[in-house]
Symmetry: C2
Subunit: 396 residues, 2 copies
């Protein structure tokens, strides 16, 4: 018999995907350049030339068997060494290859992290607003994702609500900073307070509460913003990283798990990731792509366009009277809608060819997300549509 839970999921529709499909269809009518499509978080800048150069060089110079051969189950040793050295240099923690597990993107990294520290029935807490895929990612492991309501003042952490929900069933807390969808970066204060609380509660419950830190946007941080390294604040941190956004290669599925060297059993945890892989069909990221990213660990694509776009949108949105926390990074902004029902708000915006995503599926009804990983020229043109939309619908 086909398994019903997966069949049931077929009828669930992704709001983001539906909006993206609408944008594509509308683009066929009026030209896609005229659709202000803020729906998808798909990097818009090209991969750095160094990445392409690394790939070309290996294809030209390396023996095919060496290049395309099996990777060890934890990742290629030289790649793990390079990642560890880069992290140590940058964050000052004593990472070694034994702390690094190469994974197929952040999704692959998280799939290992969740299984490492939860049994079915255990709880993982995350904070609204949050990436909606966390639900299937966690819930299909048998663990349960619970969402702490948002601190809507600044999208840091609502500690009052967190304390209520941090029962002894909670085995891990999942954070995402810089954050999709708010663009907010957790401050050192937030991280210190979170770490203190997790230490206290770990002692009280007599089991460690792990901090799973999903960091795909780590390299997209705007001028004047400090993005503290989460692992520096809390020993039991499992960092999940992806090169998708920093190198603009989301389709190539490459990232890693980096277990904090100060975490108890850190080396065992990495080895356990290799066992988890056997049960989920992971079996390493592609060898060639592991080898390529190891050559460009400290490079990024030209990410400056995201900041340019953010400033344009933030300025216009606040001028139009939107309540809006200024993003410190990523390529998202998450303003409050001009009516309580953000779904209705976003539906009305479609008439102006503005594709905005309501915040409901991010755990923050009443807000909406704009993904501004698009050409600046289009962002500029969208501002007129935004003004017209607000003037006609909300100030008419």
């Amino acid at each position: 018999m086909l398994v019903q839970k997966y069949r049931d999921m077929l009828s669930g529709k992704s709001v983001i995907r539906e909006l993206s499909e609408f944008a594509t269809a509308r683009g066929q009518e009026i030209g896609y350049e005229n659709v202000y499509d803020f729906s998808l978080g798909n990097p818009s800048v090209p991969a750095p030339r160094e990445f392409t150069g690394a790939m070309m060089g290996m294809l030209r110079d390396m023996g095919a068997n060496e290049l395309h051969g099996y990777s060890p189950s934890l990742g290629i040793t030289s790649v793990r060494e390079a990642v560890a050295a880069s992290l140590e240099k940058r964050f000052g923690l004593p990472y070694r290859k034994e702390h690094i597990f190469m994974a197929v993107g952040a999704a692959g990294a998280l799939a290992h992290a969740f299984r490492l520290v939860t049994e079915p029935g255990d709880e993982i807490l995350t904070f609204a607003p949050f990436f909606p895929e966390y639900h299937p990612y966690v819930d299909l492991t048998g663990a349960k994702l619970k969402v702490v309501p948002p601190d809507t003042e600044n999208f840091q952490i609502h500690f009052g609500k967190l304390e209520e929900m941090l029962t002894d069933k909670v085995m891990a807390v999942l954070i995402n900073t810089p954050n999709n969808p708010s663009g907010v970066v957790y401050s050192a204060d937030t991280l210190r307070r979170l770490a203190d609380l997790l230490r206290t509660k770990s002692d009280e419950y007599k089991h460690p509460i792990y901090l799973i830190s999903d960091e795909p946007y780590r390299e997209i941080v705007f001028a004047g913003v400090e993005a503290p390294c989460v692992s520096q604040f809390y020993d039991n941190t499992v960092m999940c990283y992806s090169f998708s956004k920093s190198l603009s290669i989301p389709g190539e599925r490459i990232g890693y798990v980096a277990v904090n060297p100060r975490c108890r059993d850190a080396v065992d945890m990495v080895n356990m990731c290799g066992q988890i892989s056997r049960g989920i069909g992971h079996n390493c990221p592609p060898s060639m792509i592991q080898l390529a990213v190891a050559q460009v660990l400290d490079k990024t694509a030209d990410l400056s366009v995201y900041e340019t776009n953010m400033n344009l949108l933030y300025h216009e949105l606040t001028a139009l009277g939107f309540f809006c926390v200024k993003p410190g990074g990523t390529f998202y902004i998450f303003p409050r809608a001009l009516e309580e029902d953000a779904k209705a708000f976003c539906r009305k915006a479609l008439k102006y060819d503005l594709i905005l995503v309501p915040g409901d599926s991010f755990g923050a009804p009443g807000y909406f997300r704009m993904a501004y990983c698009i050409d600046t020229e289009k962002v500029e043109r969208s501002l007129g549509a935004l003004r017209k939309f607000v003037a006609e619908v909300y100030k008419g």
Copy 2:
């Protein structure tokens, strides 16, 4: 708390890996060229130039965002279309892109197939001798792998034992033809009889029993051997394919699930694979590698060396008095050891720098596996060592 089942697995040792490590260490003493290392099933021939050419061409000519962008969750549409067209042309079944799900190698494909048709507690049957990784692959889903004892005459299927074990708890039967480790190809007779039995039992138990066909060795078939297409025999077949062996790119993790177009709910099953992915962190094989294999679907590496090696070994082994089923494909041979305890036999062979793998972990104690995906020149030199080993230890 760290999850104990994964921690427990750390102490389990892979015999194949231990032997491979021994071979490497011994190679450092006497030169690896003098170690007759038959331990690992790692393709020894280079990827076809067309694959390298396809990769280089795309890196040179395609826009980086198009090349490295996200793949849809079922795989890139044009790639699925190309795979379906190739399968239809070759096997005469009406495959369409809707029947194809792109996966990260056979391990990824199997991870989806198992979850598609089994709930925790259900059983999957496979046949000894079998690929030992099937145990963690299945058991970690919560389903249970049960192994039908071997038909040691010819390593086809022991139907008597199969009928005993095919209870109504069995939701799927997993086969691997051409087979690792025996090298045997299931005959049309075997497949017809298997299909008849599965149809009868599906009717009797009032639920479909799916046939999961793991086919990474499909392209390595020797002269005079017919390798029938499994899906032609049984409608409820889920084919799991990998390009690792045919294109000699095992590290690049690319394969697919092809659901038989005649299978009930075939299209739903492929869509369900996209949902399963969300729970196991799969999220598509790398875009670039999907696009590259689509350009070389009907190519293979030069696989002829495997047949040359097989003939050399088969001839020598039978001349030395080994009972040995002649492989019809793959790069494995699975002779009976010269004493009952194959572990002892393989341990004694180490003194002659012959690295042979005992059949115990393949579900066939008393046999041993030789993986002859190595240079023919080394196979030729190994024959002397083999003769000496047998003469001194077993005919002394």
